[in-house]
Symmetry: C2
Subunit: 315 residues, 2 copies
């Protein structure tokens, strides 16, 4: 087999700016909503009590990718990342492997990028300030992408004050409390989802909420009552209603399918976005393989154009 | 991320002999049947008209693997293999990637190995001669594994006489016609599954049939009537009844679930194998990720023991 390029963490982050990630992820949602791209459901391989592996395939733009990634929440206790694995990129026309890609950088960048896409689409026109609740790896990338989309300044909150301070320092924002973060125009929650950080009285009129932390069964960042107060959007209904932020409210009978709009449908104009400045919009991001695919498309283009270097591997 | 070894085609075939592959694949079926190993269903990503990609996860023996592999039947017309992709091997305890493995060699070896395991378990005690119907890559490896398990001599049939002659020459067997191959004790069919090679009058008393070619919807190597005459075994009921050799007979109402036994259950003694010397036994192999996992376990052991060399890759 011919040698294929291997894109490291540094190569991915060097090749794709937050601004480009936002545009690419937006394009991916549009292509998927329009039926040009295909995405079978994620498969979970449970490894109790460590967590799970996910196999996430998607196809589009001449590529077929398979993301193989862990969610091992206890790993940081052992000094290891929660997210580990790789992305295999193949040609969808010949089936040939084309590249191997670091999974952490792509996951962080595409997760951050969708927060910016959702804000651009669903937040009020005059929304500017950003609240970040949870300043880990994905919270930081959400903040960077929102800043690239010209949101800010922001308030960064984390139970670990050092993490909040570091992110605030990088972006020229402020560190603050949860309540201060929730007073901003665009609030992005990226917590482990083990206990709610948004309760019923919290979301105020006109707010846009990105909920990025709940990406599996049993996880939630807002109470079902708080969710039910909002106009609801998600990346994909099946995932959001079964292993996302909406799951609790759906199970409790507070939310029905027809109340929830998918981001892709909003982007293509098939469904309305925000309709009122006082509305509280909530976007539930569970994380889709089409987002990873969108960045792999960008990466291979950058490589063909000589804008990114890569070692190669032969199988 | 630490560098991980990359096992090429040559490394895999150099590290694992057909005899070891047979033992490992047998052990894998036993571990899966006993509940020690786990295997979520395959996911298919269709790419009409080229074929499909398959994402095949499995977990066991401290590893979690994900096989990402094509079945692109028209690829040989363009000088490319039907089967392309890679196997990602991770630690199931930490989630860390441990290795990257060539997919063609593992697929060929584990597909060949299961033919020998099924023959050892289901063919008559006095079975010796082997008929090979289809002498492509997987047919050749089935023949090599059957030879390693001390079956033979055999008759090799292929519409391409050169392919049949080459395999026969390698093993010291004969090339012959389809009917001659079907007169042997252990008949292994490995065709594209586009038209039946075993019809109702063919299978004779006492025969064991391995059906390896039908691995997706619409494929079959035997007519439903021929299948219904046999005592039926499969690698996994869900796959065999929905995208395997049994599918046609099940759809036609000729075969019910309770008539079909899984190989793992036979190996553990939970279900009977052949009960009569005159019985015609048919094993439907659709191909399972636990077979790939079994060989990855062997490969990593060989690497740790210094019996196989590998380049490394860093993500």
């Amino acid at each position: 087999m011919p040698a294929i390029p291997v894109f490291t963490h540094e190569a991915v982050l060097g090749a794709i700016s937050p601004m480009e990630a936002i545009d690419r992820v937006r394009d991916g949602f549009v292509a998927y909503a329009g039926g040009e791209w295909d995405m079978p459901p994620k498969t979970y391989l449970e490894v109790p009590p460590n967590g799970d592996f996910r196999a996430m395939p998607a196809r589009g733009a001449g590529l077929a990718i398979l993301k193989w990634v862990t969610s091992f929440p206890r790993n940081p206790e052992a000094g290891l990342p929660v997210v580990m694995g790789m992305i295999c990129v193949s040609s969808s026309s010949t089936g040939e492997p084309l590249a191997l890609v670091d999974v952490r950088s792509v996951t962080a960048l595409r997760t951050g990028a969708v927060a910016a896409v959702a804000a651009q689409e669903l937040a009020r026109e005059d929304a500017r300030t950003v609240g970040i609740v949870g300043c880990g790896l994905h919270g930081a990338w959400a903040a960077r992408c929102l800043a690239a989309a010209e949101y800010g300044p922001g308030v960064c909150f984390d139970p670990d004050p050092e993490a909040a301070g570091r992110l605030a320092g990088e972006l020229g924002w402020e560190a603050g409390g949860r309540e201060e973060a929730l007073e901003c125009d665009v609030v992005t929650c990226v917590t482990p989802g083990s206990s709610p950080v948004v309760d019923e009285p919290d979301p105020r009129s006109g707010l846009h909420l990105n909920m990025l932390g709940a990406d599996g069964p049993g996880k939630a960042e807002a109470t079902p009552a708080a969710v039910a107060r909002c106009s609801l959007f998600c990346d994909e209904w099946e995932q959001a209603s079964h292993g996302g932020e909406l799951t609790g409210a759906v199970s409790a009978g507070l939310v029905r399918r027809e109340q929830v709009r998918e981001l892709g449908a909003v982007l293509t104009g098939a469904a309305p976005g925000r309709t009122d400045a006082d509305e509280i919009t909530l976007f539930d991001s569970t994380g889709l393989a089409i987002q990873d695919l969108a960045l792999c498309v960008a990466l291979l283009e950058a490589h063909r154009a000589g804008r990114v270097r890569a070692a190669t591997v032969s199988l």
